[in-house]
């Protein structure tokens, strides 16, 4: 398709948003019919960038898309100097062994939203000699680098460390520097982020110079980046150009990432949070797109996403995510400022492979589709975790922990219960023990609080309480308490002459309480205080 035909196609094609976008669609459609998938993807990216940087030039002048991406004068013989991003692992910053030595601006730059675009020279240091001679540029033999061209395989072939020139506004405390290694670009004045003075120099001939490793257009992401401070923002310099993400776009930075989706807008993540977000698959991962910029909580930071959040606290070094129903429950509990504090680990998948759990500074949230997301504070959570938590005998909590009475907290689980008080600590009741305990009245009943974990006894298990005992076998579990319990223990309890209880305490006649056992009974007369063992 020739240029004229391309333009005709543009005018007849309904839809996409911008002229450039429509052109990309048309040209890439043509490419798609003539190339492999891999080649097509690579070429469409180049064409898109070319049109964003220099739409008319790319369509109307005989030149390659590569030339348009990098702008005019991109060959080594052009005499211009390469961009730092091209030779510095995609990073738009002075590489090691160089310093900012001066700057100029190009006015009316489309790459900076029609405003000035600033270009800063990074000059080599004079590391191979002691300073001598007049100020400005040291002898070439002293430079920390040698003259070469931009790396092969991309269009920014401009010179590296060749030109002995110093614009002179930056690092004036350094009398001598070497040649220009590379140049970085900014849409904000250099004196706002580097050790440079305000003395303004202009060269509009460099307005459209660019690199495939730099943002190729003024986009919502770039505009937001500039708005929040660009180099001085928490994100630092860009790494490579903006790229497509599922349903949106993304841009990497030395200290973070910016994600853009049309219905959300540009939002950034930074530091340990960005590292974790990327590790989780970023925009394509389980969290989806960030829905807000980071929020500071004193020295900590939090980022919210479509399906969860990532929290970072300096004391914890790493950042951890909370996702889905757990994130919703966390939110209901006040998030990081609430009772749970910050997450201290990423969610774990218990051995059932179904549920999820997140540990926090002051507790835990466990989720299973049958129980929902349930919250435990630290005392209960600590014991729960010691018992293998969701993967242990107790299963998942079926309710949030509850304050039973002042100083007493308990949580009900699928196969048991954990009870905590300051005096007893956290003690669990498994299965039948928990059922019998509930039958007896629980924490507010006559047994009082558990004082020890259950113990194995020949033929069954037993657990001690403040005012009694539960004894359980395959046949069932029963509690004894008060004087009856004391007598039972005196007689050897489950392994004594009476054997295992076969009933809970009951009232055979008013004023008398009694338990039956495998080999007898014990009664207690409330009026006389007499304890009788039978038969």
């Amino acid at each position: 398709m020739r240029t004229a035909e391309t333009l005709q196609a543009l005018s007849s094609k309904a839809a996409p948003s911008t002229w450039s976008q429509r052109t990309v669609d048309t040209v890439t459609g043509w490419l798609a019919s003539r190339t492999s998938r891999r080649g097509f993807l690579a070429r469409t990216a180049v064409v898109g960038s070319a049109l964003a940087v220099d739409s008319a030039g790319f369509l109307l002048k005989p030149q390659s898309a590569y030339a348009s991406v990098c702008g005019p004068g991109s060959t080594c013989s052009s005499g211009w100097t390469v961009f730092c991003a091209t030779i510095n692992k995609g990073i738009n910053a002075c590489p090691p062994g160089s310093i900012a030595a001066g700057w100029w601006k190009a006015d009316g730059a489309s790459l900076c939203g029609g405003k000035a675009r600033y270009i800063i020279d990074c000059n080599a240091t004079c590391s191979r000699c002691a300073p001598s001679g007049r100020a400005g540029i040291c002898s070439r033999s002293c430079w920390s680098c040698g003259c070469t061209c931009g790396p092969a395989g991309q269009c920014d072939q401009r010179r590296v460390c060749c030109s002995a020139f110093r614009y002179g506004q930056c690092n004036q405390q350094v009398a001598q520097v070497g040649g220009v290694v590379c140049r970085l670009v900014s849409c904000r004045p250099p004196w706002t982020f580097a050790n440079c003075s305000t003395a303004s120099a202009t060269d509009n001939a460099t307005r459209d110079h660019n690199s495939p490793a730099l943002p190729g257009a003024w986009t919502a992401i770039t505009a937001r980046y500039v708005q929040i401070g660009e180099f001085k923002s928490p994100l630092g310099p860009t790494i490579n150009a903006e790229f497509g993400a599922p349903g949106g776009k993304a841009q990497r930075y030395v200290n973070g990432r910016m994600s853009w989706k049309s219905d959300i807008g540009p939002r950034y993540t930074v530091g340990a949070i960005a590292v974790r977000y990327t590790a989780l698959g970023a925009e394509a991962g389980l969290l989806g797109y960030p829905v807000a910029d980071p929020t500071a909580i004193q020295t900590a930071r939090v980022s919210r996403f479509q399906r969860g959040r990532i929290s970072w606290h300096p004391a914890l070094v790493k950042a951890y995510e909370t996702v889905g129903p757990i994130a919703i429950r966390f939110n209901a509990a006040g998030n990081e400022s609430g009772r749970l504090g910050f997450p201290i680990a990423s969610p774990v998948v218990p051995t059932d492979g179904v549920g999820r759990a997140s540990a926090f500074q002051h507790g835990r949230i466990s989720w299973h589709p049958q129980t929902g997301a349930r919250l435990l504070g630290t005392p209960l959570a600590r014991r729960y975790v010691a018992l293998q938590a969701e993967s242990g005998r107790l299963g998942y909590p079926t309710l949030d922990e509850e304050t039973v009475a002042e100083g007493i907290v308990a949580v009900q689980l699928q196969q048991g219960r954990i009870v905590w008080s300051a005096g007893t600590g956290a003690i669990e009741l498994f299965d039948l023990m928990a059922v019998v305990y509930a039958r007896s009245g629980g924490e507010m009943g006559p047994l009082g609080l558990p004082v020890a974990s259950e113990e194995a006894v020949a033929g069954g298990r037993a657990q001690r309480f403040a005012a009694g005992r539960i004894s359980a076998t395959e046949a069932g579990g029963f509690f004894t308490r008060g004087p009856i319990h004391d007598k039972y223990v005196e007689l050897g309890a489950e392994t004594g002459q009476l054997g295992w209880p076969t009933t809970d305490e009951f009232v055979p006649t008013p004023g008398v309480r009694r338990n039956d056992f495998q080999n007898g009974w014990i009664s207690f007369d409330e009026a006389s205080g007499q304890v009788t063992v039978g038969p």
Binding site: A135, G136, A164, Q172, G179, A199, S200, D203, A205, T206
Partner: protein, 147 residues
């Protein structure tokens, strides 16, 4: 000839000269001075260090730029040299330019004069004729007064 207050230049015959104060980068400050002199016409869309001019130089032509910095720069090591520089032919090199072009040769000198920080940048149309180019530059500099 007084180009602007504080900068006089005796313009040689056949030369074109332009001087202006740069728009101040910081509101409220006085813009720094920029002086261009060339033995060729000065196009309107030239860069401050001579782009779009130096490519038009013939072998015997010369482009000269005086670029002024913020006043406080005068106290820094880069501008430690006092008074108008005395360029030597050996100071010129084809790579001493923002954008080296075949045949051309550049030279750059940082200095302080009358308490003001400057860069003198000169481009000769021919590196091989730098001897005569340096002589022409000297002649021009003789007519410069900064004060």
């Amino acid at each position: 000839m007084r180009l602007v207050p504080g900068f006089d230049l005796a313009v040689p015959a056949g030369w074109q000269v332009a001087a202006r104060r740069q728009p101040p980068s910081v509101p409220g400050r006085i813009g720094n001075l920029l002086v261009h002199a060339a033995s060729v016409p000065l196009p309107r869309d030239r860069g401050d260090f001579g782009s779009n001019v130096v490519t038009t130089l013939g072998a015997d032509d010369l482009f000269v730029c005086f670029f002024e910095y913020d006043k406080e720069a005068g106290a820094t090591p880069l501008f430690a040299s006092r008074g108008m520089p005395v360029p030597r032919p050996s100071d010129f090199d084809p790579n001493n330019m923002q954008r080296p072009r075949p045949g051309l040769s550049g030279g750059q000198w940082f200095f302080t004069a009358s308490g003001r920080a400057w860069c003198l940048f000169a481009v000769l149309g021919s590196h091989s004729r730098r001897q005569s180019g340096a002589v022409r530059l000297h002649a021009l500099l003789k007519g410069v007064r900064i004060g």
